[in-house]
Symmetry: C2
Subunit: 227 residues, 2 copies
DNA sequence: ATTACTAGGCTCCGAGTAG
DNA sequence: TCTACTCGGAGCCTAGTAA
């Protein structure tokens, strides 16, 4: 059975948009060529081939050529469109990171415990984080690269604030799942002290205990992405 | 600006289905080749070209190759899918016929006036047709061909019936618009006395009068098609 | 003005193969 | 195993041109 050639997609698409599903539409090969950004000669060949493979019906009367898409041609287009559509819709809507638990400096714990942050955490993510963040080192390059996406994503924004001494930067939170089971939040700091290879997680309770983790444990983090 | 090559559609589609929108996915060129029905070599080339044109990001570590679709690549796919989708959805959902009014033999009027038919007309299309059908000759081949589609379409079915003499065949009705304004019905007879070049219309009132037509008048008939 | 043939070039593919 | 190079052949495109 003759398959629909990939280079004929645009031709069929154009014919379809001209109403060639139900009616014979009259066109010239040069206008078709313009529309599919090919030469008149190519357009002519396309029509000949499409007819040969029974994707279109062609009627020639005098200098006019009229074309109608067959049900076979139409269903091929539907099939193709469905494949595309599906691949666009059905990608997993989460980002997956893998890494190794490492011990932080305790800095995270200090900052996240500040009143200026905790008040916002309570109202915006619904809990006051357990004092102490979970640091995860992303071992593979692919995960270090993946984390970069969050810079452009919005998440839940914890605003910066100041006390008499200094200003504390904003924090972005992304609800996440640790090891496919435990709810937590990935946090991105405006002023971070480490590069893309380490991420920080916060949670209501002590993650090290609830997830039974210790330094060196391998962990998986999934963060849903609202497209 | 480098355009997305048409032959790369399937590759991108496959990567997308593997989740390469948000995450770097690790693949081999031979598995990709299998999936897009090309050779390993072609798959390799595809990835190289896609990377060159910034439709994907590629990370190579050791023998593994990880791939992620860029926002540019993604939007190209969305664009393409939208074009296809639109051309599939937006075709005019009616069949248009043009022809010339001719005088019938009066046969239509006789048959359609039979009780066995009129009773069904009343209940199924809501009126008893004016006695006398309007015959239209389809002058162009494209319209003669277009009419063939109705053989496979359902329409409103008027059943066959018998009296003591003979059996009268079924009739299919398709609601139509004459000259873009007057409601009527296209009828297709099981046993017709003419070929594809002539169609018959029925209406509540006398079409010749309401549409101010005489033999030789050019008419346009539009029949909606429920896809 | 058309459509569509031929000729030639350019692209794309895959077999062979190196690393 | 893997990626990706070269290269020959097949297929696609366009310029020129006939009808």
């Amino acid at each position: 059975m003759p398959e629909l050639k990939i280079q004929h997609i645009l031709t069929l698409s154009y014919l379809l948009s001209k109403g060639a599903k139900h009616n014979y539409v009259t066109i010239t090969t040069s206008s078709l060529g313009k529309n599919i950004k090919k030469s008149q000669q190519s357009a002519s060949k396309h029509l000949l081939e499409l007819e040969q493979n029974q994707f279109i019906d062609r009627i020639i009367s005098g200098r006019n050529i009229s074309v109608k898409i067959t049900s076979k041609g139409f269903s091929e287009m539907v099939k193709l469109s469905a494949i595309l559509q599906k691949s666009l819709d059905s990608f997993p809507s989460h980002i997956e990171l893998k890494g190794t638990l490492i011990s932080g400096m305790g800095e995270g714990a200090y900052y996240m415990g500040l009143k200026g942050y905790t008040k916002q955490f309570k109202s915006k993510i619904g809990y006051i984080p357990f004092p102490g963040t979970l640091n995860v080192r992303l071992d593979q390059k692919i995960h270090q690269e993946a984390i970069k996406q969050f810079e452009t994503l919005d998440g839940i924004k914890i605003k910066s604030f100041s006390d008499e001494k200094r200003t504390y930067g904003w924090v972005k939170c992304f609800p996440a799942k640790l090891n496919n089971s435990i709810n937590c939040d990935l946090i991105l700091l405006e002023r971070t002290h480490h590069d893309n290879s380490v991420i920080e997680l916060i949670s209501k309770s002590c993650l090290r205990k609830t997830a039974k983790l210790k330094d060196g444990s391998k962990v998986t983090i999934k963060i849903p992405v609202n497209i």
